[in-house]
């Protein structure tokens, strides 16, 4: 089943827009041939190579790790590089592809993610570590690392952001992707400013804006759960003082006594 070479044909309906010629977006239909292996990205490439070189979309890694290729397919935000075409056919043997919703369109399937990146920067995505770095690593338990997995593997594709009702209505909302990043920093035992971060996300554009509609969870192609992270942040906002105190306590043990005196691993 890995290489079902049988060719079949399907109609791709693509929502197109070229600011230099089009007044507004319009659908264009393309016929493409596909096999069991063909991804939606492959099909878009096929159109671009053989039918219409002006069809415009972003892509790079082609295996769901760079976050370039999030689009709206049959009404759902997905990564087209990892999605086999055969799984997306509607009853009329068609696949409908639109750019990510709620974001300004630059051209065809390419959207303007500026607001998305601004929110990302607004939460100060970088770790603010203790000023004194140890000679070796800070010690973290495997459980503490595991707790960050939900946020760490976010590829910033924007699928959640552009499916979020709150983002659609309120451009100032920080958004699920950036709140997930904030969660990651708040939860990291090495971060020294969890209190300030909690303050930053607890304003009117932050965690309490989330209506827990769960669109972000449905949309996330990496199976992450921004809503849960947002809920955790909400709880921590309520317990800010105790949480900050616990962090200060924890940071005393980031560095076991013996390791600061032991010789370096090599040298």
């Amino acid at each position: 089943m890995t290489n079902n070479g049988k060719m079949q044909s399907v109609t791709l309906r693509v929502l197109r827009y070229n600011p230099e010629v089009d007044q507004k977006q319009h659908f264009q239909e393309f016929q493409v041939e596909y096999t069991a292996d063909t991804t939606i990205l492959d099909a878009l490439h096929q159109i671009k190579a053989e039918q219409d070189g002006s069809l415009t979309f972003r892509r790079s890694c082609r295996h769901a790790i760079c976050g370039s290729c999030a689009m709206n397919v049959n009404g759902k935000n997905i990564l087209v590089c990892k999605t086999p075409l055969r799984t997306q056919l509607d009853r009329k043997n068609r696949v409908t592809i639109r750019p990510l919703p709620f974001l300004p369109v630059i051209k065809d399937l390419v959207v303007d993610r500026s607001a998305f990146w601004e929110e990302y920067q607004r939460v100060r995505p970088w770790l603010i570590a203790p000023p004194e770095a140890p000679e070796k690593e800070f010690r973290m338990t495997p459980e503490e690392v595991e707790a960050l997995h939900n946020a760490e593997t976010c590829i910033m594709c924007g699928a959640c952001y552009s499916s979020c009702q709150v983002v659609a209505l309120n451009k100032k909302y920080i958004g699920p992707h950036a709140l997930l990043k904030a969660f990651m920093r708040v939860m990291d035992p090495r971060d020294t400013e969890p209190g300030e971060r909690l303050d930053e996300v607890s304003g009117s554009d932050g965690v309490f804006r989330c209506h827990t509609i769960f669109n972000c969870i449905d949309a996330c192609p990496k199976g992450l759960n921004p809503t849960e992270a947002i809920e955790t942040l909400r709880k921590l906002v309520q317990k800010r003082q105790a949480f900050v105190a616990a962090r200060q306590e924890r940071q005393k043990t980031l560095l076991p006594v013996e390791s600061s005196t032991a010789p370096a691993a090599a040298d």
């Binding site: 010629v21 671009k48 338990t141 760490e152 590829i155 990291d188």
Partner: protein, 599 residues
């Protein structure tokens, strides 16, 4: 001189992967106020983020369980026990992996700084997997004699890239996201800036700087089956070459043994590091015949050749016999979910197979470019065998050739290389500016030449309007079939002729999209032109090098020949095509003289 078509910065870094971002962050941290980074895709989409398995450094945090054999389980190093690893071992493994073509002075710097840079990543927020006692976890990797791949599950590159990008933002580095570098401005061996296109508007600018650095990544896209992202079209190497900079050791291209069958998408070497097997159609662990000691964990060049031999001798799997099986089933569900979650999903998504209970079809895939822009250990680009600098021009990472990987790179050494030499380039650039380097004048209007290049692509030349994509596909097929894992003189000569014809055809090719805004049709055409440009050098270097070393294997010269070929290739552009010259390898003849390479 400053007008609306000219942009000026102190430092311009092209490339926002690990190498470029490290350099930018360090330069900014060192007090250079105006550091700009250009990337043709958003910085966080850079290919470094796709790296899975790990970054090498002899931290000595784990060791094999005593008496459990070379492939037995690992445990955290007990308190007070002596580490099984150190930088000298790492150095030897790297030299041997390189088939003695790596420069040993550069390798020494890399393996020593490895330890410190992994800790620096950790201090900056990188979330590594951990041992029970909270240290950075390590696993085995091919060609490394100790477990020294430091990892974050199997998304190591992703966390490293995000971490360094965040820190660069913190230090005020300015990012030009989705800007495409088209040309490097070098006059009198002094670099003065670049020409770049703002992709969203199609506007082309001259960008002047006191120092320019390239961290533009690899060139694996010249091959049909490849693990590389669409972005890895070797723009940087081609642009440098066009600007008169030589390229070094271009013939050395690494093929990774485990690309997903037909797709080429990588199943990390961590699969074998964690204990996976390779099986042929007869269900044999065929590596027994090729590397009885290291088995599946022999270095990549050797494993890929072994696979290809099995395939060529009729023991391949799948309908066309072009596959091999990767068997992870015995690792068990828990280990696969914990250590290899991403590769499991890739197998499910792309070949419809869950490695927990089925065999994964794989095949060798073009993976890594050992060759590139020659530099010294501070990222300073050099012009010749004597080390003459191209003033103001720096490079690091996969686009550069320091050379630490020589004829074959060991897994996990390239995230390391990009980081260590990116960081060193950052310091070197700061020192260069500190020493008074000033903005140099630019003669003429270099941007205009690039505007004409784009116009030519849009207009065609009236004679024909051949599709660029077809040329690109033919090139990739040629490179895979005639300049791939196994090479010989006859096929290389054919490849050379084909590339020559493809370049002629390219001169008449035309794109379909004529708009200025976000014209990816034009970008692919420029990228194809770059592929054609450096592919010629891969073939020329391979044809000339009449020996087999590391990833370069000539069936008509199957032996390594130190007497004649223990040297680096330098390729220079001339009006009559590439001219090849050679450069000595830095070798410590007392400590690490060339030996037979056996695993």
């Amino acid at each position: 001189m400053s007008d609306t078509n000219t942009i000026v910065h102190d430092v311009i870094v092209v490339g926002a992967g690990l190498a470029g971002t490290w350099a930018a962050k360090i330069a900014a941290e060192q007090g250079v106020r105006d550091v700009a980074v250009l990337s043709k895709i958003h910085p966080l989409r850079s290919h470094s983020g796709a790296a899975q398995g790990g970054i090498a450094a002899a931290l000595g945090n784990v060791r094999p369980v005593p008496d459990s054999g070379p492939r037995g389980p690992l445990e955290q190093l007990p308190d007070g026990a002596t580490p099984v690893d150190n930088w000298e071992l790492h150095m030897f493994d790297t030299i041997k992996g390189s088939d003695w073509l790596g420069d040993q002075d550069a390798i020494e710097i890399m393996v020593k700084e490895a330890i410190d840079i992994v800790y620096e990543y950790e201090h900056m927020g990188c979330v590594f997997s951990r041992t029970r006692d909270g240290r950075i976890a390590q696993r085995r990797f091919g060609g490394h004699s100790a477990p020294r791949a430091n990892f974050a599950a199997d998304w190591t590159g992703h966390v490293l890239l995000h971490t360094i990008h965040e820190q660069a933002l913190r230090h005020g580095v300015k990012f030009y996201s989705e800007w495409y570098c088209m040309d490097l401005i070098v006059e009198d061996n002094i670099c003065r800036g670049v020409v770049a296109m703002e992709i969203q508007t199609g506007k082309i600018y001259t960008m002047r700087a006191r120092a320019v650095m390239f961290g533009t990544g690899g060139y694996g896209r010249a091959y049909k089956i490849t693990s590389n992202a669409y972005a890895n079209t070797g723009d940087g190497v081609a642009i440098a070459y066009q600007a008169g900079v030589p390229l070094m050791d271009m013939e050395f291209v690494q093929f990774h043994p485990t690309g997903l069958y037909k797709h080429g998408i990588l199943m990390s070497e961590a699969c074998r590091g964690e204990g996976g097997y390779l099986l042929n159609a007869n269900n044999e662990r065929f590596m027994e015949r090729y590397a009885p000691d290291k088995m599946e964990l022999a270095p990549r060049d050797l494993v890929s050749r072994s696979e290809q031999t099995e395939i060529d001798q009729g023991r391949g799997v799948e309908a066309d016999g072009q596959g091999i099986y990767l068997d992870l089933r015995h690792l068990g569900r828990e280990k696969i979910l914990k250590r290899l979650p991403q590769v499991r999903e890739l197998a499910i998504d792309f070949v419809g197979v869950d490695p927990i209970d089925a065999l994964v079809p794989i095949q060798p895939t073009a993976h890594y470019s050992m060759g590139g822009i020659p530099t010294d250990a501070d990222g300073q680009v050099i012009y010749d065998a004597e080390g003459t600098p191209v003033t103001g021009f720096f490079a690091a990472g996969e686009c550069a050739c320091v050379s630490v990987h020589g004829a074959n790179r060991l897994g996990t050494n390239s995230l390391l290389e990009a980081s260590v030499f990116g960081r060193r380039a950052g310091y070197a650039i700061a020192r260069f500016l500190e020493s008074g380097a000033s903005l140099q004048s630019v003669s003429g209007d270099p941007a205009e030449k690039q505007r004409q290049r784009v116009q030519r692509l849009m207009a065609g030349n009236g004679k024909s309007s051949e599709s660029v994509e077809k040329i690109s596909q033919e090139l990739k097929t040629t490179m895979t079939n005639q300049a791939g894992i196994f090479r010989d003189g006859e096929r290389l000569i054919q490849a050379s002729g084909t590339i020559h014809r493809l370049r002629e055809r390219f001169a008449n090719a035309r794109v379909m999209d004529r708009s200025s805004c976000f014209n990816t049709d034009v970008l692919s055409a420029l990228e194809t032109e770059h592929l054609l440009s450096f592919s010629e050098l891969i073939v020329a270097g391979a044809l000339e090098r009449k020996e087999s070393r590391g990833a370069h294997f000539r069936t008509d010269y199957p032996k390594r020949d130190d007497e004649n070929w223990l040297k680096h290739t330098l390729a220079y552009q001339t009006p009559d095509g590439p001219r090849l010259a050679y450069k000595a390898v830095n070798i410590d003849w007392e400590k690490y003289p060339p030996q037979e390479r056996k695993y």
